[in-house]
């Protein structure tokens, strides 16, 4: 390292020169603006060809990583921190939002804003509820919600895929996995989605904040109830956690549970809406995916994840001076890892701006990378696939209505949709109405103890099996 000698003369102008040299590659990156959404392909190409790591003065000043190599290295770099030090007890790092979201500034965003060893401690508690084997047990539950949602609309020949399907299924499932009665899904659904697409200066912001407050009250009520009278689920998993011999602060637990809720709702909705919209425009591909679903649904899902990248990226803080991806970083500097841009890097994905449902070598970035890989990725994929095949079976000829389609104005956080109306040939109901189904599903959760972690479920199964 030569920086020690060059930085040894303590003068402001030297420091400024050092900064200028390090930040030679600059790009004004405003990913919250509508222009970024409109010019995403150009921005991506320019940054990848000219930078691919650049300093941007926006949002208080931060680095942006735009290429697959740079994002790969930085996401897995030990000198990069996720910590959100909301009480100023450590180094004051700001977590994963760039800029820091006003609403989120007082509460840490769960395990996504923790470093080791705290992160792994909580993650290992949550994993047994969210592994591929654990999620598989929920498939009959998921199918019932999906078909009940479709039944509500099947006789009319009209559906809004966001409002009437893709918002409801992830919300109902996530609540059931948490251990919250599924009938409460409406308390949780709107504030979670609205918080993502409502800018802080919107006239609707106070209403959304109030809905969020009610959500918070219900969540903490459930936490206290479950601590007093345990019932299976993710809340129970964290309710009695002890770290370093002590109980974590309840606000910390609410942050973890809120992350599960936020991560479980809006991302899956966004993926489903975008895939359904694309399949409406590409009916030959839709027919093919439906017919060849047994072999094609897995690679197609990974390709939709790559192309639509529901969670656009993550913020980080540099925890130690380091040189990564040909860039000299200084401790304390902020960094944006763009999963969305890395996913369109032609050096890793041939024809990156084309959807190829059979794409090979699709090591996309949509679940993030490294130890913070999306813990709910198995849930998201399963819910998405069950919704997709049910739509193929029940409304195979659906046509989306571009006039009524509403995309989020900003794709800075979640690349989502507010509305995706469609028409289709009406069909008969096949299941119970949604309200009755929710009652039935609550019973199913309790009878089959679906919300138990897999470790306990397996032990119960082996205890119940006849021994010889």
């Amino acid at each position: 390292m030569t920086t020690e000698t060059t930085a040894s003369v303590d003068s402001g102008s030297d420091a400024a020169t050092d900064d200028d040299a390090r930040k030679e590659k600059r790009y004004s990156f405003e990913r919250h603006s509508p222009e970024y959404r409109e010019n995403f392909l150009d921005t991506t190409r320019e940054m990848q060809e000219q930078c691919p790591v650049a300093w941007s003065d926006t949002y208080g000043g931060h680095w942006v990583a735009a290429s697959s190599d740079a994002v790969f290295e930085l996401a897995r770099c030990p000198y990069v921190s996720n910590d959100h030090d909301v009480r100023g007890q450590r180094k004051g790092y700001k977590g994963i939002n760039v800029p820091t979201a006003e609403r989120a500034s007082g509460v840490r965003g769960g395990i996504l804003e923790m470093d080791e060893p705290e992160h792994s401690f909580f993650r290992s508690i949550l994993n047994p509820y969210l592994s591929p084997a654990a999620v598989k047990r929920w498939v009959p539950f998921i199918d019932k919600v999906v078909h009940a949602c479709i039944d509500e609309k099947i006789e009319s020949g009209r559906i809004d895929f966001v409002d009437d399907l893709a918002n409801i299924v992830p919300a109902v499932l996530t609540l059931a996995m948490l251990g919250i009665p599924v009938e409460k899904w409406t308390i949780y659904n709107e504030p979670v989605h609205a918080a993502v697409y409502t800018p802080p200066d919107s006239p609707d912001a106070p209403r959304v904040a109030e809905l969020h407050r009610q959500l918070g009250i219900d969540l903490i009520t459930n936490l206290f109830e479950i601590r007093a009278n345990p019932r299976p689920g993710l809340i129970n998993a964290v309710a009695n956690a002890a770290i370093d011999g002590g109980a974590p602060d309840d606000m910390e637990l609410l942050g973890i549970l809120s992350l599960v809720i936020g991560g479980g709702f809006d991302t899956t909705t966004a993926l489903t809406a975008h895939a359904l919209e694309w399949l409406s425009d590409n009916t030959d591909q839709r027919a093919r995916l439906s017919v060849e679903r047994d072999t094609l649904i897995n690679p197609a899902t990974e390709e939709f994840l790559r192309y639509f990248t529901p969670a656009a990226g993550d913020g980080r803080t540099i925890a130690e001076d380091c040189e990564v991806a040909d860039t000299e970083f200084r401790e304390g500097e902020r960094l944006w890892l763009s999963w969305a841009m890395a996913n369109r890097d032609p050096s890793l994905f041939p024809e990156p701006n084309t959807i190829d449902m059979e794409r090979k070598g699709n090591r996309h970035f949509s679940s993030g990378l490294g130890v913070h890989r999306c813990i709910g990725s198995n849930v998201a994929r399963t819910v998405f696939k069950r919704m997709l095949v049910a739509v193929f079976d029940r409304m195979p000829d659906y046509v989306c209505d571009p006039e009524g389609t509403v995309h989020y104005d900003s794709i800075g956080v979640i690349q989502g949709m507010r509305h995706l109306p469609a028409t289709f040939a009406p069909g008969p109901r096949t299941h119970k109405p949604l309200a009755d189904t929710l009652v039935e599903l609550q019973q199913m959760v309790e009878d089959e103890r679906l919300a138990e972690p897999l470790s306990i479920a397996r032990k119960r199964e082996s205890d119940a099996a006849p021994s010889d």
């Binding site: 790969f72 897995r76 290992s124 994993n127 047994p128 592994s131 591929p132 084997a133 654990a134 897995n298 690679p299 990974e302 090979k360 070598g361 699709n362 090591r363 996309h364 970035f365 679940s367 990378l369 490294g370 130890v371 890989r373 990725s377 198995n378 897999l454 470790s455 397996r458």
Partner: protein
């Protein structure tokens, strides 16, 4: 003969290898982390395993052609 190894310290449980090569990788029930079913890959699964190597987001899978 193709030999395969999953670096447990790099694997984060993305599960893509088991989708691409279901005969060759098994996932831990609790955290979804992957291990090879056999270190030695039968010839009929070699192409799938090579594809899994290319598809791993963490680049945690390595192969040796012997």
């Amino acid at each position: 003969m193709l030999k395969v190894n999953v670096d447990g310290s790099r694997c984060q449980g993305h599960t893509i290898c088991a989708m691409v090569a279901p005969e060759s990788f098994e996932l831990d029930e609790i955290d979804g982390h992957s291990t090879p079913v056999n270190a030695e890959v039968p010839p009929e699964h070699a192409d799938e395993v090579r594809e899994a190597v290319r598809s791993c987001p963490e680049q945690a899978i390595s192969i040796i052609e012997e």
